[in-house]
């Protein structure tokens, strides 16, 4: 090391804080996006736990040991994800135990749990699965309700807490919410929280909405920030407070004002989706829905049925990908199909009426369009989509959308399904 450089010293100690350590060579190869870091970062912020570093390291014993050494010398809470699997390259747990000079012990309750899950899925345990039952002596099991790899909660020394999670996001989320959060709160965290509410808008651009609410973007507590993605605009209201209820009091008036400004473009909050909101409207009015999908090929039905209990108002539909399906399953008029083409207002209307009549639902909603990248023409370019909507009094509407030729197949399909739901939403609200 050249003389100019200050002599290396130990990392600076940070006030009570956490470090996120993601273990996995696939992250170093760029095979997967590190969404776990973002999730954990958001969760730590919610609990008011400061975190100043995130580290990614491969499935390598020496380097992982060194990362643990650095992290343990600068923060008090180490949160690991990844490397808990059954294969030899999964070595997070044993490396942590090694580092703190503690042996691994086999925990029968874990073996039992794994065996049970395997049995449920009609599979049998193999020797390598027993590896997942080994955890450091003195560590608590952090149960994994959905997968086979449990995590640990461990205090290997005073003032140092370790939590481990598998790399599979869905498994980690549940373990975090069901066990880690209660544990961290029991340790006194989450006294001052950052509490957020997202207001969701459809049918208005980010810059237009931002201008409408410009004055609110300078607030300090709560703060208001716009985000945009996949055709949707969100306004996030974040309040810092001692409790959710206090934060709620700070947020409520601002939320109401922003909703008033948004008008019909505001469709829901937080975990609401267009499908959720449409479902609530249909349920409350006791009405039912059927869909007919061309270019989305089932994507609209999937959105609607992501919601448990959607069978109360969603009866099903037809994927009329080929024209023969439009004729046979929806009764679209062959002459009209010929004259106007599959991607037309007329066919969209007949698709909506056809599926509504065949399933005797209150509403029929249809999509026909050109998702691309091929199939576009000068007068019918990629991104041209027609939405059809047939209602209870035999009224039938169609809506034309030009979603852009360059945006790609999957986003055009997504926007088409959302637009269809949004038209139905506005129609249900203005009944």
């Amino acid at each position: 090391m050249c003389s100019k450089i200050p002599h290396p010293k130990l990392p600076i100690q940070n006030p009570m804080s956490a470090e996120i350590i993601c273990v996995g060579t696939e992250l170093l190869l760029g095979d997967i996006l590190n969404s776990n870091s973002q999730y954990l970062a958001q969760q730590l912020a919610k609990l008011g736990i400061p975190h100043y570093y995130q580290t990614v390291v491969g499935d390598n014993r020496e380097r992982l040991q060194q990362v643990i050494e650095i992290a343990a010398s600068r923060v008090n809470i180490l949160i690991f994800t990844g490397g808990l699997g059954p294969t030899p390259d999964d070595l997070t747990c044993e490396t942590i135990a090694d580092f703190f000079g503690v042996p691994l012990v086999e925990r029968p309750e874990i073996i039992e749990d794994i065996a049970q899950k395997f049995a449920q899925r009609g599979r049998v345990m193999v020797p390598s699965n027993y590896k997942q039952a080994l955890i450091p002596q003195g560590a608590e099991i952090l149960p994994n309700p959905t997968g086979t790899a449990p995590g640990i909660i461990w205090q290997p020394r005073p003032e140092l807490t370790i939590l481990t999670f598998p790399g599979v996001p869905s498994e980690m989320y549940r373990m975090w919410e069901e066990t880690a959060v209660p544990f961290l709160k029991s340790q006194g965290w989450g006294q001052e929280i950052i509490y957020s509410r997202s207001l969701k808008f459809w049918g208005i651009g980010e810059s237009v909405l931002a201008e409408k609410v410009a004055d609110y973007l300078n607030l300090t507590n709560p703060t208001v920030a716009p985000y945009a993605g996949k055709g949707e605009v969100r306004l996030r209201i974040s309040a810092k407070a001692s409790s959710p209820s206090v934060a709620e009091e700070l947020i409520a008036p601002i939320e109401q004002q922003l909703r008033d400004i948004g008008g019909l473009d505001y469709y829901g909050k937080d975990n609401d989706t267009l499908a959720v909101v449409v479902g609530q409207l249909l349920r409350s009015s006791g009405e039912t829905l059927a869909v007919a999908e061309s270019c989305t090929g089932g994507g609209l039905g999937q959105m609607l049925t992501e919601i448990s209990g959607s069978s109360d108002y969603f009866w099903g539909g037809v994927i009329s990908y080929d024209n023969s399906a439009k004729l046979r399953l929806l009764g679209v008029n062959p002459a009209d199909l010929d004259q106007f083409g599959a991607v037309s207002a007329t066919v969209a209307q007949q698709m909506a009426q056809g599926v509504k009549n065949r399933l005797s639902t209150t509403w029929g909603l249809s999509i026909t369009g050109i998702a691309g990248p091929t199939g576009g023409t000068d007068d019918k370019p990629v991104g041209l989509v027609y939405i059809g909507l047939a209602g209870p009094n035999n009224e039938v509407y169609s809506f034309e959308h030009r979603l852009g030729t360059m945006r790609g197949r999957s986003i055009i399909r997504h926007l088409s399904a959302c637009a269809a739901l949004d038209h139905l939403r506005r129609c249900l609200l203005s009944q």
Copy 2:
């Protein structure tokens, strides 16, 4: 630090390698997903530059200094993103200069460039923009064609190279491709590349497959590593070589052996999905497919139609979410529906036959099951799914799956659609 712990030592030196350092408090707050790390990781792999660590740190002078100290002591190439903007909290460049004890100098060519870009956008430079023209004495400018913040390429000491990029992905991509890659190649990188192939398997667990291929997991070049997620297992073969063709020669024999071991459980490679593979098989045999979906509500159709050109073999289908749709659109026998229930082998078979007959396709594929979280009973628990398959010679099959009661609605729906495609795939292959 308690006595059990080995005395802290300096980080281990790694052979010629890089570290990615992302600077930005927004990453620590979880406001944005760290896609820059993934991009840079992929790019480094392409050039054959080993990288063992990724670090995220906030816009904080002391902590950034400490991160630089650790990184500079364990790798030779430091790649920074973020913290190059005009605002006071953007301090990456000055902190780097401070650390190496070098002053910042104002570079007129940068000021000129910024002024020009502002002029084009009809804006005028404000004082804060001049900050972006300050770079460490002796550093080269890494031009930013699309934005105002340039990066640097700098050797503050022998054997240590620093590259900085703004956090805006689109700006970073162009700077990387147009300047960083040529520079790194001029330094002798990119002679040796890491080239990978992913083999994908369905219908076998990670641990079982890992044991079958245990000997291969110890290979050094190419290496073989297993990954699992969403019901699929992948074996990643990675070769280090002077060119893709040489790497291909190293990979080919191992790939063939692993495919032989995998047998019918092997379904495709790299970007293949089950829908892609099934599509190729149908196209090559000139056969067609229709689907009938209950618990997946359109998800199977969506998977099939994600592929442009799928209309050549996929004609559409029915979303028979409600029983009335099973009766009216698929002609399921009401008595059987009554006797066996909607989630039964019999109904699955009739759904498959029904949709095949109505659309006159070669194959009919159906799914009926209990996605949960509600609707399960003792003899028909959540996760119980029946796949129906009707073929060209009026043969009809059904397959029972128990996907586990605890895995959640969306994963059960995903696994159901994949399982259906997999059964069709195996059937098409063994024709």
